[in-house]
Amino acid sequence: MSDKEQFEPRIAAFFCNWCTYGGADLAGVSRLQYPPNIRVVRIPCTGRMSPKFILQAFRQGADGIWVSGCHPGDCHYIAGNMYARRRFAVLKNLLEYVGLEPGRIHFSWISSAEATKFQETVIEVTNAVRALGPAKFMLKDIAPQAQREVA
């Protein structure tokens, strides 16, 4: 898609089962409007997040990544999000160090009661990724040449 106006990003969103996933649910039940650009993957805890997941999403064509979990202190497994926080800090710095735009990768703490924060964050994340255009990093192009030409 050459026209940036029309570009609709695909964002891989990894949500903790115990809070942000519930927050997303509440946003839906509350009929809060938000952009349909996120593809949600439910994970047991942000502590389960591996950098592999993030890179895999980019490799398969995600334009942005968003990981969201419980506020510090609220973790269902006591401290999964605290360990995750260190990992994300180091990973985010590393990815930006090798040239990933800062707006492609997002982290947030959203509880299951924060439907409005969820809505606001989807909008913020989607706008940030849309402004950057399609991701060209690390794309693993597995479609055969011929198929691509037809497409």
Binding site: L55, P72, R87, G99, W109
Partner: protein, 316 residues
């Protein structure tokens, strides 16, 4: 160097003769100059092959994991720190380990020597104090050892072993003199839009031989992420996406554990400088969490702990 070699042999022979250990891990001369190789001496006679030189670039801590014998190991600063790291991670048993500590003067980069003499074939290298005498067909050059140190040895902060059972000589000055904050994470100086192309170019030559992984004492997983097939997180091809995934993840796995021993770079047949990635992580960990890997056996590795007030400005 000669003195260190003598002392290492002496200690190895004593330990083997006493039966205190079954094997002494050290270095012996390689089949070509400047390629000292890891060597496991199992008898007093074999211990005579042990050497110490400016080209002991492999990290011997790599050979301690999953080893059942009583082992002695020749360890300079970085290797001793990796031993501490492996102890922290419960990979080795301190009771079965004897550490022969060697205060290190830094290792010389073979590729820097070859660059300096114009890639001529080298027959022999002699060390005379601060000078290397490189000899080949029809030439003999005297080179300054300090200028040819590996990049990581230039910024080394811990040249003396942090743990040892015996030392082969008096400790040397701990820091090598290079400013680690200035040298680490070189791409931070680049504009954000230049970084990806620089990264791409820097790793474009990678042939996915995994020498960097195999040389690394941190990489002891039974199944490496590159070998996982369902799901396959990282393809096995030389496609640039696969190469980049491999190097980002490999570097990330070293977070809070890498002692900057430089074994990966020394092992790379393509001359890739993968320390540009690990040095960035090392710097971040040092600055954000105030942690230096491999210094304290009792400490918990930094990525396995947290503090309530860890930095989180980047989280919404």
């Amino acid at each position: 160097m000669q003195q260190r070699t003598e002392k290492i042999r002496e200690a190895a022979k004593r330990l083997l003769a006493e039966g205190a250990v079954d094997v002494v891990l050290g270095y012996r001369a390689g089949t070509v100059p400047m390629r000292e190789q890891p060597f496991a001496a199992r008898s007093v006679e074999e211990a005579d092959e042990l050497v110490w030189s400016s080209f002991c670039c492999n990290n011997l801590a790599n050979f301690l994991v999953r080893r059942d014998e009583k082992t002695a190991i020749v360890a300079q600063g970085c290797v001793s720190r990796n031993i501490v790291g492996l102890l922290q991670e419960n990979q080795i048993d301190r009771k079965r380990l004897k550490i022969i500590g060697v205060p290190c003067l830094g290792m010389v980069s073979r590729s820097k020597v070859l660059d300096k003499i114009g890639n001529k074939t080298v027959f022999a290298v002699e060390e005379q104090g601060e000078e290397l005498v490189v000899k080949g067909k029809g030439f003999e050059e005297r080179l300054n050892r300090k200028e040819l140190l590996r990049d990581n040895c230039f910024t080394c902060q811990h040249r003396n072993p942090v743990i040892s059972d015996e030392m082969v000589c008096e400790p040397v000055q701990d820091a090598a003199g290079g400013d680690i904050d200035k040298m680490a994470a070189p791409w931070e100086a680049l504009a954000p839009e230049e970084r990806w192309s620089t990264f791409k170019e820097a790793f474009a030559d990678c042939i996915r031989c995994y020498a960097c992984r195999d040389a690394c004492p941190l990489c002891y997983c039974h199944v490496c992420f590159v070998d996982e097939s369902k799901p396959q997180w990282c393809g096995k091809t030389q496609d640039e996406a696969d190469v980049q995934t491999f190097h980002i993840l490999r570097a990330f796995h070293c977070a809070g554990r890498c002692t900057d021993c430089g074994a990966c770079e020394s092992a790379c047949p393509m001359g890739i400088k993968m320390r540009v990635l690990t040095s960035k992580i090392e710097k971040d960990v040092r600055q954000m969490y105030g942690y230096t890997p491999g210094m304290d056996e009792k400490a918990t590795p930094t990525m396995s702990v947290y503090r309530p007030n860890d930095p989180q400005d980047f989280i919404k």
